[in-house]
């Protein structure tokens, strides 16, 4: 017999426990694998979408003015030498509906107008099915494949543009765009049709927002010079990275959080293995002692234990890779159907899979290292003495584990960094550190916490509750780690839920602050304030329709110029306490200054970036125009959205008109009369919007819209967290099983004193439920800490307002933790209850 055989037999002797450990590792590796595959799928999608945004174009010019480029400019550009293609894209936000009837649906989305022939020169229409637009296709429209299927439509279905001229035929979907092409923009809420069709549908043509230019092979500086010299309109050159930036940021956040779950699951798996091996070593102390006495070296003993662990790790990791591929298929399916994150296909990156396998095997070995070393250190004499628990301090027993896990986490992060998946590493690492720290701390707070959380259980379960609680402190390291593992899974749910809730709160605040009264209309082309005000104010129930006079400007500093956006607002409309969150000056002073004129409110993010404070003077000008010096009267946390990421600089309507000559507005704030119900007013606003071929906005819709993709992701992450909870539950099954094995005699004594089968079951279930409850309490504390860290470390302005606690979720975590743990206790409880009394009494006599 070889020593390896002993390792095998050790595992086979306890099939259930071995299986649990393997499943634990497999689940952890599965989540990591799924994350790596999904991450790689999303990278691929991002690359392909980015490539399609500009296609073969060498240059994208974005119009600076809302009016866009003039058709004349396109003609001039096409006439230039070296210019092989100019593909103009016009844009307009429109309300679109399906054919009227019972199932009529209404959407507000971005409609892009292209010149089909010119566009074909710069990019291939990436279609899932159907045909591309042709030169004269007045009724044809391309729609994103997932938008079509999500809304129950199909190829050939008709769509109506709201506010379209009388007598125009409906549009027909002739092609389904792949989600990873042009359709990646706007979360896939867009339609593409011919520019001519778009322009002919309405009284005014849609502004041409950008031009994609193919300048032939190897365009030189001179060619680009010639192009820019031809342009009369102000413009900005946009790179591929600029165009893809909004797509990329969502991916990074997603991969980061998914990876956190993967690593959390993996660490849980390692806890499970560590626990399993510790139990095995504990049970087989005598056997190992005999081996030592017979001349087995301590290195050989170490080898036996590590070989067991390696077997678990290899099996678990291999299973995990397979399960991970299945899980990834599910995740990718979910993501592509909900469009929460851009994904394409099911790539199997060999390197990534190897990393997952190595991580699985690695954490298994590290998890087993502590028990293995304990086994190797056993002196033959010590092992042969009747069992006595080494009574070292808790910290002593946990120290190697703490160090080992931190090393694994660091190594894992390094590996991930090397494997090239883009993610903000630091917050993930810190979160993981916090979670593991919390798990290790579980052993220390177990006793006091069990005394508090145990109380309701003792009331409910009586003696069984008391006995169950006593059992928790039988082996505090073992129980602590088991509780800690469950805690990590639940804490991840708490952290995510809290961050999401806080983001939602932030979004609501933000939307409320920029849409006072909660309603607005956005028009594609700015409408003259004086001329159109009566049209807007004809809306039933409106108190006032307030135009936001917007204009692109430049911010002038020491001769340098930077693109900026200016919006003229009516201080009276925005002067309610939820509107515009002002900092840097008292609200009243800030508004007084704005009303008086010559003052500007600056978005906080801009102020922070370039170092502007209240009281400073800011030079603003129309491109090429006179510079106006405005006093910074206040900083706003959120400003009206504009072409620049920071949002618009805000001045009074009067200043916008008098200093910058703006008379038109593309955003109209619709303030309802006090007694008009919001839903009634929303309908009236929608009617006005349709009349004007414009988009109605409500604060509620906007908040939902902004939170939508977050909510979907949270759903997915909760599913991943559930896997982690399952691993935690396996740990509880494992630990309870060992605990019962250790006290068969005790249970027989209890039974002989009249404890019924049901009471024994209740005792074990109570013990399990208490573990779950303690895990839940710790998870809430740790999860909130992690959330606090993520919220305060995050750069997102939505989170600046701080934490908002998702109370129902916190309660649910406590209940689910307790419930799942109690369920996990059912099987061990049955085992305990079916133990024979007499045999277990005799065992020792």
């Amino acid at each position: 017999m070889r020593l390896a055989t002993i390792a095998w037999r050790g595992l086979l002797a306890r099939p259930l426990r071995t299986a649990l450990a393997i499943v634990g590792i497999a689940l952890g590796v599965a989540v990591v694998t799924a994350t790596i595959i999904t991450g790689s799928s999303s990278e691929q999608a991002l690359r392909s979408a980015t490539a399609d945004l500009l296609g073969r174009a060498d240059l994208r010019l974005r119009a600076f003015d809302d009016a866009g480029f003039r058709p004349r400019t396109i003609q001039a550009l096409r006439a230039l030498p070296n210019v092989e293609a100019v593909a103009p894209v016009s844009e307009r936000r429109l309300t679109v509906s399906t054919t009227p009837g019972d199932n009529e649906r209404v959407f507000t989305l971005l409609v892009m107008g292209i010149d089909p022939e010119a566009d074909a020169l710069v990019r291939d229409p990436r279609l899932d099915s159907g045909v591309p637009l042709s030169a004269d296709s007045p009724t044809d429209v391309l729609a994103p494949a997932s938008w079509v299927s999500r809304n129950g439509l199909e190829l050939g279905d008709q769509l109506l543009l709201a506010g379209r001229r009388e007598g125009m035929p409906p549009l027909r979907i002739i092609g389904l765009m792949a989600d990873t092409g042009l359709a990646a923009r706007e979360n896939g809420d867009l339609l593409i049709l011919s520019r001519t069709t778009l322009d002919e549908s309405f009284g005014v043509p849609a502004p041409i927002r950008y031009l994609d230019l193919d300048l032939g092979d190897e365009p030189d500086e001179a060619a680009i010079e010639r192009v820019t010299a031809t342009l009369d309109e102000p413009f900005v050159v946009e790179t591929e990275a600029d165009a893809a930036a909004p797509l990329a940021s969502a991916q990074e956040g997603f991969v980061g959080v998914a990876l956190l779950f993967g690593l959390v699951s993996l660490v849980l798996g390692a806890f499970l293995v560590g626990n399993t091996m510790a139990m095995t070593v504990g049970e087989r102390t005598r056997e190992l002692g005999l081996l030592r006495a017979a001349g087995t070296t301590s290195r050989q003993v170490l080898g036996i234990v590590l070989r067991q662990a390696a077997a678990l790790g290899v099996l678990g990791s291999a299973l995990g890779i397979v399960a991970g591929i299945v899980l990834a298929a599910g995740m990718i399916g979910f993501l592509s159907s909900t469009r929460a994150v851009l994904v394409v296909g099911l790539p199997l990156p060999i390197g990534g899979l190897l990393v997952a396998f190595a991580l699985g095997l690695g954490v298994t070995l590290v998890g087993a290292l502590v028990p293995a070393m304990r086994a190797a250190r056993l002196s033959p004499l010590e092992a042969l003495r009747p069992s006595r628990r080494t009574d070292r301090g808790l910290l002593d027993r946990l120290r190697p584990l703490i160090v080992a896990e931190l090393v694994v986490v660091a190594a894992a992060m390094l590996l991930v960094a090397v494997s090239g998946i883009r993610t903000p590493i630091l917050p993930v690492l810190l979160s993981l550190g916090l979670l593991i720290g919390g798990a290790v701390a579980a052993a220390f707070v177990l006793e006091p916490l069990s005394r508090i959380t145990g109380r309701p259980f003792e009331r409910f379960f009586g003696a069984q509750g008391r006995l169950g609680r006593a059992n928790l402190s039988r082996d505090r390291v073992r129980t602590g780690l088991t509780v800690g593992a469950m805690m990590i899974a639940l804490a991840a749910v708490v952290a995510l839920g809290t961050v999401a809730e806080s983001a939602r709160a932030g979004t609501e605040r933000r939307v409320a602050s920029i849409l006072p009264g909660g309603h607005a209309i956005r028009v594609g082309l700015p409408l003259d304030a004086e001329t159109f005000r009566p049209t807007f104010e004809a809306t039933v129930g409106v108190e006032v329709a307030s135009p936001v006079l917007d204009v692109p400007v430049v911010r002038v500093t020491d001769g340098d110029q930077e693109e900026a956006a200016l919006a003229g607002i009516d201080p009276n409309v925005f002067d309610d306490e939820n509107a515009l969150i002002i900092s840097g000056a008292p609200r009243a002073d800030a508004y007084a200054a704005l009303r008086a004129g010559g003052a500007v409110f600056v978005p906080e993010s801009l102020a922070r970036r370039v170092g502007i404070a209240v009281g400073d003077v800011m030079g603003l000008a129309l491109p090429g125009g006179e510079i106006h010096e405005l006093a910074v009267a206040g900083l706003v946390e959120f400003s009206l959205p504009a072409r620049t990421a920071d949002g618009a600089l805000l001045v009074s309507t009067a200043d916008a008109r008098d200093l910058f000559g703006v008379t038109a507005a593309s955003l109209w704030i619709m303030v309802p009369q006090a007694d008009v119900p919001s839903s009634v007013f929303a309908a009236a606003v929608r009617e006005t919007a349709v009349q004007l071929a414009a988009e109605p906005l409500t604060a509620r819709d906007l908040a939902v819209e902004l939170s939508r993709s977050l909510d979907r992701l949270i759903g997915l992450f909760d599913a991943l967290a559930l896997i982690a909870v399952v691993i935690g539950a396996l740990g509880i099954v494992n630990t309870l099983g060992v605990g019962i094995g250790e006290r068969v005699r005790e249970i027989a004594i209890l039974r002989s004193h009249g404890m019924t089968v049901g009471q024994v079951q209740a005792m074990v279930v109570a013990e399990a439920a208490m573990m779950g409850a303690i895990a839940g309490v710790l998870a809430i504390v740790t999860g909130l800490l992690v959330a606090f860290m993520l919220v305060n470390g995050g750069a997102s302005a939505e989170l600046a307002a701080g934490l908002r606690l998702p109370w129902p979720l916190l309660v649910a975590v406590l209940l689910v933790g307790t419930g799942v743990a109690a369920l996990a206790g059912l099987y061990p409880a049955r085992v305990a209850a079916s133990l024979p009394i007499v045999r277990n009494l005799k065992h020792f006599e």
Binding site: R466, L467, I749, H753, G754, G758, K842, E845
Partner: protein, 248 residues
């Protein structure tokens, strides 16, 4: 005096591989209320098996056990447990205590198991601790006690609910002479002073000599019955002489 425990023709057969072992081959006995009976025999003679059947911990292959008028062989598992809870108290050779409960909690265990808050039985628990002389160790953990003290706690616990019958399986088997004597004195005291019915299983004639009556077991059968009567001196010599006469 009333019969409190009766066994009729108990047979216990254990499967042993292909074959079977007859641990008990037809045992009948009756114990009167307040009686102190010892069951004596060599190791493997079937004493423990008999005690387990008498206390309802296990079922006989055939035969019947009647405790305080209840035929426990006819009961289902649940009711047998409840009868055991109500009528019996057990003391085993060692590892009697729940290590994670304090001494006081261990003594209160029968109340806890019955769903009866220990707080309602504070006086009774104090009385029991006083009986076994461990009042000042009520808050200790079992592993902080000596083996003799642990057995005294086990005894206090077995007596807690004033059971109809106290069943003790080699309670002194793990103890030295002095501490063993302390336990036996306590047993005798509870029989004599409190009128406790006791069945004591032992292989030790000196312990059996505390009983009113000794049943001698061999190969799963009661071979003899020696009436000693209640004696304050617990003198073992008459019993030993009698056993010698029987060739045991």
């Amino acid at each position: 005096m009333a019969v409190i425990l009766e066994a009729r023709d108990l047979v216990k057969r254990y499967p042993l591989g292909e074959a079977e072992v007859d641990a008990l081959r037809g045992v009948s006995l009756a114990v009167e209320q307040g009686e102190f009976v010892a069951i004596m025999g060599a190791s493997g003679s079937g004493k423990s098996t008999m005690l387990h059947l008498l206390g309802g911990l296990d079922l006989p292959t055939s035969g019947e056990v009647v405790i305080d008028g209840i035929s426990i062989s006819a009961l289902d598992e649940e009711h047998r447990t409840l009868t055991r809870r109500a009528k019996t108290g057990f003391v085993f050779q060692f590892f009697n205590l729940i290590p994670l409960l304090s001494v006081g909690e261990n003594v209160a265990l029968p109340f806890l198991i019955a769903g009866d808050p220990a707080s309602r039985h504070r006086e009774r628990i104090a009385e029991l601790l006083a009986l076994v002389g461990l009042v000042d160790k009520a808050d200790h953990r079992p592993d902080q006690l000596s083996a003799g003290e642990q057995q005294r706690v086990a005894l206090a616990r077995a007596l807690a609910t004033k059971p109809a019958i106290l069943l003790a399986d080699e309670p002194t088997g793990n103890l030295d002479y002095t501490t063993g004597t302390e336990i036996l004195d306590l047993l005798w005291d509870s029989a004599d002073r409190l009128g406790q019915t006791i069945i004591l299983v032992t292989h030790d004639a000196r312990a059996a000599a505390y009983a009113d009556r000794v049943l001698v077991v061999r190969d799963g059968e009661i071979r003899d019955e020696i009436a000693l009567g209640r004696r304050k001196d617990h003198e073992a010599r008459p019993l030993i002489r009698r056993l010698a006469e029987l060739g045991l």
